[in-house]
């Protein structure tokens, strides 16, 4: 049934895949945040043609499966000359997909700033840069950290999908071990445990952080 010896042996073999997963997750999270911020600002500032296009694009990103978007980046885009490693493809794919969620978070964060804040800033005749940097963004930052942190954890878990476009991350490694040894039980279970061992404490920590941010 369950082979403890084998289970422990697979851990070091999974290590490289795990590292890749972590790298992908960090890069994709950063990408998602940056892109999300860009989308949110473009939509907020209401540039005539661009804002509408971004709006539709973001809806497209949210309304279609991540898997399909990854396949498009992996199979379709290279046909038009842009080629990149599977790793980068995965990072770009996840960055775009999750940027649509981050954009929504930023938009909600900006809208939810009490109107009084804008009024005060105007009354004090602060230049726009100061208004944004010193008053608005810090408050947005505080309300935005929990959801963004949440998505970072999701990115970490969803990175397993990248195994389908041959990125050598955790799930991919587990599958390889399984196909080599014909025993899938231990590798996949251990991989699952690794995902859990990171995401669950992270989620708990995030919840605690959220409580502390809320009380300030």
């Amino acid at each position: 049934m369950w082979d403890w010896k084998l289970a422990l042996e697979t851990l070091p073999k999974l290590w490289q895949g795990f590292l890749t997963t972590v790298q992908v997750s960090i890069l994709a999270s950063i990408g998602a945040v940056i892109l999300g911020l860009i989308w949110a600002v473009i939509r907020y500032v209401e540039v005539p043609f661009l804002s509408g296009a971004v709006s539709i694009f973001v809806q497209l990103l949210r309304g279609t499966p991540l898997l399909v978007q990854l396949y498009i980046l992996f199979y379709v885009v290279p046909q038009y000359g842009i080629s990149a490693s599977a790793f980068m493809t995965g990072v770009v794919g996840m960055s775009f997909y999750f940027s649509s969620y981050c954009a929504e978070v930023f938009r909600a964060g900006i809208i939810n700033i009490p109107k009084g804040q804008w009024d005060v800033a105007r009354a004090l005749s602060l230049p726009p840069r100061r208004v944004w940097l010193d008053i608005i963004l810090p408050q947005v930052g505080r309300s935005v950290i929990p959801p963004i942190g949440n998505y970072a954890i999701v990115i970490f878990k969803q990175s397993a999908l990248l195994s389908t476009i041959t990125v050598a991350e955790l799930l991919h490694s587990a599958q390889n071990i399984g196909s080599e040894t014909y025993r899938y039980v231990e590798p996949i279970t251990m991989a699952g445990l690794l995902y859990f061992a990171i995401s669950y404490p992270a989620a708990l920590g995030l919840r605690r952080l959220e409580k502390r941010l809320a009380t300030r």
Binding site: M1, Q59, L60, R62, G63, T64, P65, L66, L67, V68, Y71, I72, Y75, V76, Q79, F98, Y101, A108, I111, N112, P147, N150, Y151, V154, K157, Q158, S159, A160, L161, S163, T164, L171, Q175, G178, R183, Y184, V185, I188, T189, A191, G192, Y195, F196, S199, Y200, A203
Partner: protein
């Protein structure tokens, strides 16, 4: 060339919808079951439901799907692809939905519960006649996301050989190439389904709120902290 395969690809929509629908049923059942269990006075039920929810939320659907498909057979459980997919997607999404259920029930104003108490309603009557109707309205916006999510995640079923939309696209592609157009088509199909679902749900919300006489919850423009609280839901 593509034209001959077009019906095949379009047929994938039905399979996608079928997988999504079956998963949806399980999601709703699991969502309410787990959500209510976590609010139960029975410590064991709370504890058990919490464990199930945290396990399914702690790893991604892909991992769970592969686990169901590759690992369970070793323990003697052989699930057909469709059963495995529906169970995994249903329980996975159901775990997230259980939080929505809990949040919505808790969000019904305490004064409503008090009114029911004062009038002498039994706890069961109170729940079904007073709390639940009001909670259901609150569940509609996150519920919409949940349904669209299920449609998106149905694409994972392609990984366990279920011939839904994504699977068929890959199959056709390996036969005739024309990658761009094929993926363009399924992208459009998925997008269309999402939009239609969103429109239907807005219609549902409209009818339900006028029927129940409650204020609309579904406004993306209105900063509603209750709404964003319920929106802990993810992708």
């Amino acid at each position: 060339m593509l034209a001959t395969y077009l019906p095949y690809i379009l047929g994938g929509v039905l399979v996608t919808l079928k997988v999504s629908f079956l998963s949806l049923i399980l999601t709703i059942v699991a969502g309410f079951g787990l959500g209510l269990s976590r609010m139960s006075v029975n410590r064991f039920m709370r504890w058990a439901a919490t464990i199930i929810v945290e396990i399914f939320r702690g790893t991604s659907a892909v991992v769970q799907l592969f686990w169901a498909f590759y690992v369970l057979p070793f323990f003697g459980i052989r699930l057909s692809p469709i059963v495995a997919a529906v169970i995994v997607l249903g329980l996975n999404e159901g775990s997230y939905f259980s939080e929505v259920v809990r949040g919505a029930i808790v969000a019904v104003p305490k004064t409503q519960v008090e009114s029911a108490l004062v009038l002498g309603f039994s706890p069961i009557t109170r729940f079904f006649r007073v709390v639940l109707p009001q909670a259901l309205v609150l569940m509609i916006p996150p519920g919409t996301n949940m349904i669209i999510s299920l449609v998106k995640f149905s694409s994972l079923a392609s990984l366990v050989t279920i011939p839904e939309l994504t699977f068929r696209a890959l199959t056709v592609r390996s036969n005739i190439g024309q990658t761009t157009i094929i993926f363009g088509i399924i992208l459009t199909l998925y997008f269309t389904i999402s939009i239609i679902i969103a429109m239907i749900m807005r219609g549902v919300e409209g009818r339900v709120t006028t029927h129940l006489g409650i204020q609309k919850v579904f406004s993306s423009e209105r900063p509603n902290s209750l709404w964003s609280g319920l929106r802990k839901k993810v992708s």
